[in-house]
Structure formats: structure tokens, C-alpha cells
Amino acid sequence: MNKLLLVVERDIRLFFQYKFLIILRAIWFISQIVLFGLIASRMISTDAVQDYFRYYVAGLSVMTLYSAAIFIGFDIYEEAEHGVFEYLLSLPVSRRQLVLGRSIGGGLRSFIYVGPLIGVSLYVIGSINPLSFLVSLFALFLFSFGVSGMSITIAVMIKSSDRFDILMGILDALIVRLSTAMYPLAVVQTANPLYGGVARFNPVTYVADLFRWGTGIEAIITLDNPLMPLLGIIAFFAFFTFVGVIIYDRRIEGGGWQ
């Protein structure tokens, strides 16, 4: 347990060394609210979404959390490129502790990073419903760990930074666009039933809907029952954390990093 915590601590310390990146990514977030959010909300009909600006800001928090959690995969490539991997493998820590620690560390650090940004979005959105918000915060935690686990799993499976970068781009394009991060499920369903079907079973949809439900503001809530998305997030987290441990364990040795 102590060794696991050491791995988690190392990843969090590493993250805070990248002050430049943290500031730049915070500017990403603010620029998306100020530019896209503000302008696009002028374009959207109030019949489709009553208050698109607040709706988008809530979705943006989820998209930012997703992007931040993905970055642990890039760290793995940096380590492989600079030979840090061999050092990590030589430590008196089991492979399982290493990957579990990295998954938790990746999820925690993205959550720590997105925490203040969520604070900004809550300020923009308005008041919250405390109990529901705690549930949605828990879902955000699990989602963040799940995405980190997914990023680590894919990184060690393909072992090529170029392929990883582009695959993450495609996943980001599909997972985010086929979700309710930017538009309500009813509109996606009307636009194309196939898109609606995919969006219905998308972890980004689950967590975005739960986050909006957690704010308790009727103008942006499009979710009736929070139990199903919560179960979906738990399944996503469990799958990528535990499958990630097994795949990392098998693929971590033998080199072949590009």
C-alpha cells in the first residue's frame, strides 16, 4: 500500500513540475468559455437548449477533464524516450502496484488540475444542489481514473507516440462529438438515430449529464434518472482500471517503444 502511494505521489509531483503546461491548459479552458461558449450560445435556439452558454460550460468541464486525464499517456512516451521506464522497472515495486499507482495518480492529478476549472464553471453556471453535486463529483472522479486507465492501456498497447497522438485525436473527436457534452441527447437523436444510439452508451454522456444534474439548474438538466449513468461510469472505471493493470503488466517489458 505504501509503495502504491509512492507511485501516486511521484505522478502528482511530476505533474506540478509542468507549471507552464498547467497555465496554458487553463487558458485553453477560459478561451473556450469566453470565445466558443459565448459566441455559439448566440447561435443556438432557446427551443433546443434553454441556456446554451451554461449548458456548454458544464460540458466543457467534462471535456477538459477528459483531455487532462489522457495526458498521462504522453508522459509514458516521454519516459520511454528518455529511458526512465527502465528505472521505473528496476524499482522495488510490483508491476501491478506500478500501473494501479499510475492510473490513480493520473486520475487524481487531472482532477486536481480540473478542480479549480470546475469551480470557475460552477461560478458561471450558478448555484448547486449539494447532495446531487457530491454524487456527480464522485462520478467525475471515477471517470477521470477510467480515462487515465484507458490512456495508459492504449499507450502501452501501441507503443508508438505518433499513433497514440492520432488515435487519441480520433477518440476525442468521436467520443466527445457523439456525446451530450456539446448538445442534448434529444437533439442528437433527432439529427441521426445512429448518433443518438452511440451517444446513449457513451461515458462522456453519462458524466456530462450527471454533472449538469449535480448543478440542479433546470435550464441545463436533460437527465431524468441519475442511476443508469452512474452505473455506466462505474463500469467504465472498473473496466479500464483492471484491464489496464493486466495489459500494462504484460506489455511493459520488452522495449519496442517508438
Partner: protein, 260 residues
């Protein structure tokens, strides 16, 4: 001149080696058009519908510009990787002047952007109709200038950042600022209206007006859809952007790449 041609060949061979990249980039761009634009089409207000008629049609020219940006930016990623893996020592040892090396890299980034963008532009023509031959030549010329400018911008960032993460983060910041403060995703009139209402800083409104991405997208829209009005000053804006970043990147590449 011959050295520049060799560099172009080198960079084009590299470009086509990244089949994954190209497939991925195309998927991302098409996802924007065939998912995001189709869904937004269902959400736009009546007022905006009167102006642009269909969001899908409005966004299609913006998609060609988005694809051009992403592919012209790829050269920066390669140069950043060369710097991290110290391949640039090999590039510096080649029998060509630093100026030829720098110009060749900027030019090849722009040309690769054009090659990648052509199928997206064709997709746009298929949905919106074809321009006249003179309009087509003007569109290609403006997009080429834009591609060279973007390539220069990406090289300037690539030689100034020491890690892949920093490069990717800086790329994201440039992307969000340039794209979201332009008419690629929404009509310029909407941004100007927000400025007039005092809800958007006039500095950002001006930035959106002179943004080369706005100018290029709106020029294609004018030729294919008949709106918004086209001014020749927009070509000058693209020319200025291209000149600044081509010379800036050439200078930065020559200076920074030789540093230890």
C-alpha cells in the same frame, strides 16, 4: 533551389509514411462535418438560419480551412521530434545553406497542407457546388498562402518547445485562439453583433475580422454560397499573415536549431 526541392521530396516522403496520421486527421475533420455540423444544424436559431440557411453548408468551407491548418501544422510536430531526438544535427550537416534548409521546411509544410486539404475542399464543392475556374485559382492561391503561414507558425512553436507535451499544449492554445476567434464555426456578423452589444471585447472582434482563417473561409463561402460579402483586403490580410510567419519561422529555425 535544388536543395529546396530535395527537402520537399524528403518531407513529402515522410508525410506519406504517416498513413495513420492522415487517416486520423481525415476522420477528425469528417467527424466535425458529419456529426457536429449535422447536430448543430438542428439547434441554430431562426435568426441565424435566415443568415446562413444551413449550418452544414456554412461549416463545409470552414472544414477545408480546419484540415489545412491541422495538416500544415504537422511539419512542426516532425521538427519538434527531430530536435528532441537530435536528428537536427544531421539536417544541419547536409550540403545546403541554413536559409535553404529553413525555407524548404516552411514551404514543404505548406505544400503538404495543400495536398491534404484538397479532398476536403472537393467534399465541400460536392455538397455546395463548384466555383468558376478563376474563383478556384484564387481560392487555391489564398489557401496556399495560408498554409505556408500556418507551417511557419508551427515551426516557430516547434523550435521553441522542448517536449512533445509542450508542443501539443501550445498547438491546442493556438488552435483554440485562432479558430474560436474566427468565422470558421460561426458567422462573423454574430461576433460583430456581440461586440456592438458590449458583450465581447472590440479587440477580439478586430482579431476575428483580420484573422486569416476568417478571411479564407469567408472567401470560399462567398464564391460557393454567395455570402458574406467579399473584400480584397481579406487577401491582403492572408498575405501579411503568411509573410510574417514565413520570415519569422525561417529566422527562428535558423537561429534556434543551432543552439546546444
Amino acid at each position: 533551389m535544388k536543395a529546396i526541392l530535395h527537402l520537399l521530396e524528403h518531407d513529402f516522403r515522410n508525410f506519406f509514411r504517416y498513413k495513420w496520421w492522415l487517416a486520423g486527421l481525415i476522420s477528425m475533420n469528417l467527424a466535425d462535418l458529419f456529426i457536429m455540423a449535422i447536430v448543430y444544424n438542428r439547434m441554430i436559431s431562426d435568426e441565424v438560419t435566415q443568415q446562413i440557411r444551413s449550418y452544414f453548408n456554412f461549416f463545409a468551407p470552414g472544414l477545408a480551412v480546419t484540415g489545412l491548418f491541422a495538416s500544415a501544422f504537422m511539419i512542426g510536430r516532425e521538427i519538434n521530434m527531430e530536435r528532441r531526438r537530435e536528428v537536427h544535427h544531421y539536417m544541419l550537416s547536409l550540403p545546403m545553406t541554413r536559409m535553404e534548409l529553413a525555407i524548404g521546411r516552411v514551404l514543404s509544410g505548406g505544400l503538404r497542407g495543400m495536398v491534404y486539404m484538397l479532398p476536403l475542399l472537393l467534399t465541400c464543392f460536392l455538397f455546395l457546388g463548384f466555383p468558376t475556374i478563376w474563383q478556384l485559382l484564387l481560392i487555391l492561391a489564398v489557401l496556399f498562402l495560408l498554409a505556408v503561414g500556418i507551417s511557419g507558425l508551427s515551426i516557430a512553436i516547434a523550435v521553441s518547445t522542448s517536449s512533445l507535451e509542450k508542443f501539443i499544449t501550445a498547438r491546442g492554445l493556438v488552435y483554440y485562439t485562432l479558430f474560436f476567434c474566427s468565422s470558421v464555426f460561426y458567422p462573423l456578423s454574430l461576433i460583430q453583433q456581440l461586440g456592438r452589444d458590449g458583450k465581447f471585447p472590440m479587440m477580439l472582434v478586430t482579431m476575428a475580422e483580420v484573422n486569416p482563417l476568417s478571411n479564407a473561409s469567408d472567401m470560399i463561402r462567398y464564391f460557393l454560397l454567395g455570402y458574406p460579402p467579399f473584400h480584397f483586403t481579406s487577401i491582403i490580410n492572408v498575405l501579411v499573415f503568411s509573410a510574417i510567419f514565413t520570415f519569422g519561422a525561417t529566422f527562428a529555425y535558423m537561429k534556434i536549431i543551432e543552439r546546444k
